[in-house]
């Protein structure tokens, strides 16, 4: 991962993508910092509620920019075929959908649905194995509600 490429720039991969996203987030946070942190002055000397976040975010942006520059000439973890990222997106989207559904349909339906999608995405085709998340969700929901007294949705 850290080995250098021949002469030109490295092919963009996960490292460049992640660093770029983090840099954008850090710069975005710096841009809205004054808006997001209100200061009520009581005449105290020393740092206020904005000082540490400002320092930490600028430092983060600086080291990320440095990582981005250094990373341009280093071999990167390849993004791979779109289908592989598609599987990751499918799992994340199924879990997000399950969470969105939970207040309406309940924990059991959401969790079982997410589990079945994960099994399908991971290549499970046999019906008994696809039903397994259904039973696990039922056990977790029952145990959580009645054993641990957790008010699951």
């Amino acid at each position: 991962m850290s080995s250098r490429t021949g002469g030109g720039f490295a092919r963009p991969g996960f490292r460049l993508l992640t660093t770029g996203l983090m840099l954008a987030a850090a710069l975005g946070a710096i841009a809205v910092l004054d808006q997001q942190i209100e200061i009520f002055g009581f005449g105290d000397s020393g740092p206020d509620a904005r000082s540490f976040p400002r320092m930490a975010l600028w430092l983060l942006a600086a080291v990320l920019a440095l990582r981005l520059i250094l990373g341009l000439r280093q071999a990167d973890a390849p993004l791979g075929r779109p289908v592989r990222l598609g599987r990751v997106l499918a799992v994340a989207a199924a879990t997000a959908l399950a969470l969105w559904l939970m207040p309406r349909a309940g924990f059991f339906v959401g969790a079982a649905g997410a589990g079945i999608v994960v099994a399908l995405v991971l290549g499970e085709k046999r019906l008994p194995a696809l039903i397994l998340p259904f039973f696990i969700a039922a056990i977790v929901a029952y145990g959580g509600r009645h054993g641990l007294n957790i008010p699951l949705p």
Partner: protein
């Protein structure tokens, strides 16, 4: 105190918790990809309705069992269940190929127990005096101590220092979200009440270690273990005299594991390899290392188990976690009302000593259950991700929800899972992020309290012998790191 603490252990639930924890740990640890960190993070919600002592003993039992479980797949399949078992695999797998897998696992088990006992004794000797000393710390001392801890993670955590610094800062920046620790002003809450509590540790942990694993497996879609044949396990014994011959190796490895464990953020992989290399350099038969030397199995196992006790010293005495696993254990202590830090021993000394004694005594069931279960655990290594990961997804959703009975925490868990996937694919280390998240907010609070006390003067950070000592340690760490960098041969 020690007797009272022991009496607290004379409870059926404590025994049940220890046994269940160790068995679950051995089985989970044997599955490659499922480390102790994920196992403990997912099991924390199960302990909500338990008393603090059995709850923490269950989780520490999982940790102990998982470290040994990690060596099962390392020895028999050359697939380390945990990264720290990679050193064990070198000689363990070589022994297994010549039909001595059972012996290799027995050496691993006894060495693990030796390392655990040694580090527990160090923990019992050091933690309370350190906590008592830290009672004298003011905000300036705490700020410098946390700065030192964060610096150690960046400089000596292994891998790229720039990446470790990025992760520490990401963690510290994530810790900013919520109410300002001094003035109570909302920060980066975007007008949402849910954000005012900030990101809770347990949902973030579950996301970073469990959900990200699900996403990584969805990306790779490869079996955790290939179709490699498990070498036959013949009946074997390890005699006491064989262990006695390697007593110096066991002692030195345990020392390395314990004291590296005390340093924040280094984890158990580095001491495992350090001990392996030291054992090889000291051995009269160094050529045998890599070809199936029992000492090559015992040294890394003693070291990586000794890390537990060592890492718990700063975690419990100062509230500074030594590695990712102790960060999770710190979260569990907090959830059970045992806030780690200088006041822990003063306010909950009985519970803490009961936990220490249980950790020490659990070596006995670890040996018995380890010998009983390693043949069963071999079959567990064959579990395919598509059977296991749907259950982990369900448990991750449940675990994140149950911390505060809030769906917001489950969204946080999912977000942390996606970020964890990106970080792990990109090669960024997760432990510095976690420690940055835990220490970021208290570091800011101590820093600002110190500056408020001094009226904005920075002299307060060199105003007492303790802060001067810590500044000297910071300077020394920077100097050592720089020297090591300059000496490292460039490729």
């Amino acid at each position: 105190m020690l007797v009272d603490a022991f009496l607290e252990l004379l409870n059926l639930w404590v025994l049940v918790a220890a046994l269940v924890g160790i068995v679950a740990g051995i089985i989970i640890g044997a599955i490659p990809g499922l480390g102790p960190t994920m196992a403990i993070a997912l099991l924390i919600p199960v302990t909500f309705s338990m008393e603090p002592i059995p709850a923490i003993i269950l989780l520490l039992g999982v940790y102990q069992g998982a470290i040994f479980g990690g060596s099962i797949s390392a020895v028999l399949l050359n697939v380390p269940g945990t990264p720290s078992s990679a050193a064990t695999a070198i000689d363990g797998f070589a022994m297994a190929r010549r039909g001595e897998g059972g012996r290799a696992l027995r050496f691993a088990l006894y060495a693990s127990v030796f390392g655990n006992i040694f580090s527990c004794l160090v923990l019992m000797a050091l933690a309370e005096p350190l906590a008592r000393f830290a009672l004298d710390f003011g905000p300036a001392e705490m700020a410098m101590l946390m700065l030192f801890a964060l610096l150690v993670i960046v400089l000596f955590g292994g891998g790229s220092r720039l990446d470790a610094l990025i992760m520490v800062l990401v963690g510290a920046c994530a810790g900013i979200v919520g109410l300002d620790p001094i003035s109570g002003t909302p920060r980066f809450t975007f007008g949402s009440f849910a954000f005012e509590n900030g990101f809770q540790l347990i949902p973030v942990l579950i996301g970073l270690f469990a959900m990200s694993e699900v996403l990584l497996q969805a990306f790779d879609r490869e079996p955790l273990v290939g179709d490699a044949e498990v070498p036959p396990l013949k009946s074997s014994v390890v005699r006491f005299v064989e262990l006695w011959r390697m007593r110096v190796t066991l002692l030195l490895s345990s020392l390395i594991g314990t004291f590296v464990g005390i340093l924040p953020g280094i984890g158990s992989t580095v001491p495992a390899f350090m001990s392996y290399n030291l054992a090889r350099s000291r051995s009269a038969d160094a050529a045998q290392f890599g070809k199936g030397a029992p000492e090559g199995v015992a040294a890394p196992e003693a070291a990586n188990n000794a890390v537990t006790g060592g890492a718990l010293v700063p975690t419990l005495a100062l509230g500074i976690p030594g590695d990712a696993v102790t960060a999770v254990i710190l979260g569990a202590f907090m959830l059970h009302g045992l806030a780690p830090g200088p006041f822990l021993f003063r306010d909950h000394g009985l519970e803490v000593y009961a936990i220490f004694e249980a950790l020490l005594l659990s070596s006995i069931p670890t040996v018995i259950l380890g010998l009983l279960f390693f043949r069963v655990a071999i079959h567990v290594t064959r579990i395919q991700p598509r059977h296991l990961l749907p259950a982990i997804t369900i448990l991750a959703i449940f675990g994140a929800f149950s911390v505060n009975n809030s769906l917001f925490d489950v969204w946080v868990m999912l977000g942390a899972g996606v970020l964890g996937f990106l970080f792990r694919r990109a090669g960024f280390p997760l432990p510095p992020l976690l420690i940055g998240l835990i220490l970021g907010a208290p570091f800011e609070q101590s820093l600002r309290q110190a500056l408020l006390t001094s009226g904005g003067g920075y002299g307060i950070f060199v105003g007492s012998p303790i802060t001067i000592g810590l500044v000297a340690l910071i300077g020394l760490s920077l100097a050592i790191s720089l020297t090591l960098s300059l000496r490292k041969p460039r490729t």
